[in-house]
C-alpha cells in the first residue's frame, strides 16, 4: 500500500502552520493566564470588600461565558467600543483564552493560598517580610505545589480550546485542516477533486490525543503525589 501524493504536503501544512499556530496561541494564553490568575487569586485572599467583589465579578464573568462568545466579544465587539482595540484573529483568540484561563487560575490560586497554614504567614511576618515579600517568597512557592495539577489540566484545556479560534479564521490546527479539506476538494490543478474530510479530521483528533493524553496522565500523577 502506498501513501497517496496529497498526504505529505497536507500533513506538512497542518503541522508547520496549523500546529505551530495552536502552540503559539496556547503558549501566550497559558503565560497570560498564570500571571494574571495568580495575581488576582492572591489578591482575592485579602479581606477588602471592593477588590474582592471586583475580582469575583471578573472570575464569574469569564468563567461563565462560553469561550466562543468571549472570542466574538474580543474580535467583533472591542473594535466597535474603541478603534484601538482591534486585534488580528490569533491575538484575539489568545486574549479570549487568557480571560477564561486567568479566571480558572485565580480561583485555583485562592484555594491554594488559603490552604497554607496561618503560622506560615506569622513566621514570615516575624522575619520582617511585608505582604508582597511574604507572598512571593513564602506563601506562593508552597501554594505552587498544590497549584501544579490544575495548571497542567488548564494547559490541556487551553490547547483543546484553541480550536475555537477556527471560527474567526485564526491559523491553528483545525483551521489548517479545514482549509486542506477545501483545497483538496477543488478540481485538479488546485486540489484533487475529492473530499478527504474523514482522514484529515481524524488526524486532527489523533494529534490532539497524542498531546493531551500524556498531559492528563501527568496531571493525575501530580494529583496522586499531592495526596500521598
Amino acid at each position: 500500500m502506498t501513501i497517496p501524493d496529497w498526504v505529505e504536503p497536507v500533513l506538512r501544512y497542518m503541522l508547520e502552520v496549523g500546529l505551530k499556530g495552536t502552540l503559539q496561541i496556547a503558549a501566550i494564553s497559558l503565560t497570560g493566564s498564570v500571571l494574571i490568575g495568580v495575581t488576582l487569586g492572591t489578591l482575592l485572599t485579602i479581606r477588602f470588600l471592593p477588590t474582592r467583589a471586583l475580582i469575583r465579578l471578573y472570575i464569574e464573568i469569564w468563567r461563565g461565558l462560553p469561550i466562543l462568545v468571549t472570542i466574538f466579544i474580543v474580535f467583533f465587539l472591542l473594535p466597535v467600543v474603541s478603534s484601538q482595540l482591534r486585534f488580528d484573529a490569533l491575538t484575539s483568540a489568545a486574549i479570549a483564552l487568557t480571560l477564561w484561563g486567568s479566571a480558572q487560575v485565580a480561583e485555583a490560586t485562592r484555594g491554594a493560598v488559603q490552604s497554607i497554614p496561618r503560622e506560615q504567614h506569622d513566621a514570615a511576618a516575624a522575619l520582617g517580610f511585608g505582604w508582597v515579600g511574604r507572598h512571593s517568597f513564602v506563601i506562593l512557592p508552597q501554594a505552587l505545589r498544590r497549584l501544579l495539577p490544575p495548571l497542567v489540566g488548564l494547559l490541556v484545556n487551553i490547547l483543546q480550546n484553541t480550536t475555537i479560534a477556527q471560527v474567526i479564521g485564526a491559523p491553528e490546527l483545525l483551521e489548517s485542516a479545514e482549509r486542506s479539506v477545501e483545497r483538496l476538494a477543488a478540481p485538479v490543478p488546485i486540489g484533487i477533486g475529492e473530499v478527504k474530510a474523514v482522514p484529515i479530521y481524524a488526524t486532527v483528533m489523533v494529534i490532539f490525543f497524542l498531546i493531551s493524553f500524556p498531559l492528563t496522565r501527568f496531571a493525575a500523577y501530580l494529583e496522586r503525589r499531592l495526596v500521598a
Partner: protein, 229 residues
C-alpha cells in the same frame, strides 16, 4: 500624541423588543438541546460510571476508551467530524441531531468520570453491610451505592451540565440556529454589535449563574444527615 478614545456606550433598548422573537427562539433551541444532552449525559454517566466503578468486564474497558478519546480531543473537532466527515461515510446527520448528539457524547464522557469517582468514594464497608443484609448486588447498588455516591458526584456532574450548556454555543459552526448563531445573524443584519453581545452575554451568564447557584442549594438540601449542620 493625541488619544482618540471614542467610547460608544449608547445602548439602544429597542434592539431587545425588535429582535425578541428571534432571540427567544434561539434561546429556546439552546435550552432544548441542553435539556436533551443533560438527560442523555446523566444516563450515560450513571450506567458507564457504575460499570467503571464496579469494573464490569468488557463494558468497563470500552467505557474507559470512550472517556479517554472524548476527554483528550477538542469537542469542536468532534463536532466537525460528526457534521463534515461522517457524510463521506454515508452518514448524513441533521444540524439538530449533531447539536444534541455532540454535546451528549461529550457530557456523557465527563459524567462517566464524575459518577465513577462518586461511586468509588462510597466506603466498601457500606456495600459490605448491604450485602450482609441479604441485598443482591443490584439492590445494593440502588439502595446503598447510588444514594450515597450519587450525592458525592452531584456537584461535579452539575459542573459538567453547565459546560454542556456553554458548549451548545459551538453549534454556530454547523449553523444550527441556537442562541449564539441567532445573535451573530442579528448582528450581521443590524450591526448593533454592542446590543447584540450584551444580550448574548447576559443570557448565558443568567443561565450559568443560576445553575451554579443550584449546586450550592442542592448540596445543602441533599447533604447526608450526618453532614447536615
Amino acid at each position: 500624541m493625541h488619544m482618540t478614545t471614542t467610547l460608544a456606550v449608547t445602548f439602544d433598548w429597542s434592539f431587545i423588543t425588535e429582535n425578541a422573537d428571534e432571540l427567544l427562539a434561539g434561546l429556546r433551541r439552546t435550552l432544548e438541546v441542553s435539556a436533551i444532552a443533560i438527560a442523555g449525559s446523566f444516563a450515560i454517566g450513571l450506567v458507564l460510571g457504575a460499570a467503571r466503578a464496579h469494573r464490569v468486564p468488557v463494558v468497563s474497558r470500552i467505557a474507559g476508551v470512550y472517556v479517554e478519546v472524548i476527554r483528550n480531543t477538542p469537542i469542536l473537532v468532534q463536532i466537525f467530524f460528526l457534521f463534515f466527515a461522517l457524510p463521506q461515510l454515508g452518514i448524513i446527520l441533521e444540524p439538530f441531531t449533531v447539536a444534541w448528539l455532540a454535546v451528549t457524547i461529550w457530557g456523557g464522557a465527563f459524567n462517566t468520570e464524575n459518577f465513577r469517582a462518586g461511586f468509588e468514594a462510597v466506603p466498601y464497608r457500606y456495600r459490605e453491610a448491604g450485602l450482609a443484609l441479604g441485598f443482591g448486588r443490584l439492590a445494593t447498588f440502588f439502595n446503598v451505592t447510588l444514594p450515597i455516591g450519587g450525592r458525592i458526584a452531584l456537584p461535579s456532574s452539575i459542573n459538567t451540565y453547565i459546560s454542556v450548556v456553554k458548549n451548545t454555543s459551538l453549534m454556530y459552526v454547523i449553523s444550527y440556529p441556537e442562541l449564539t448563531t441567532t445573535a451573530l445573524q442579528i448582528n450581521a443584519l443590524t450591526l448593533q454589535t454592542i446590543e447584540t453581545f450584551t444580550v448574548l452575554a447576559v443570557s448565558y451568564l443568567v443561565i450559568v449563574w443560576t445553575m451554579s447557584a443550584s449546586i450550592r442549594l442542592l448540596e445543602s438540601h441533599l447533604a447526608l444527615p450526618e453532614e447536615r449542620r
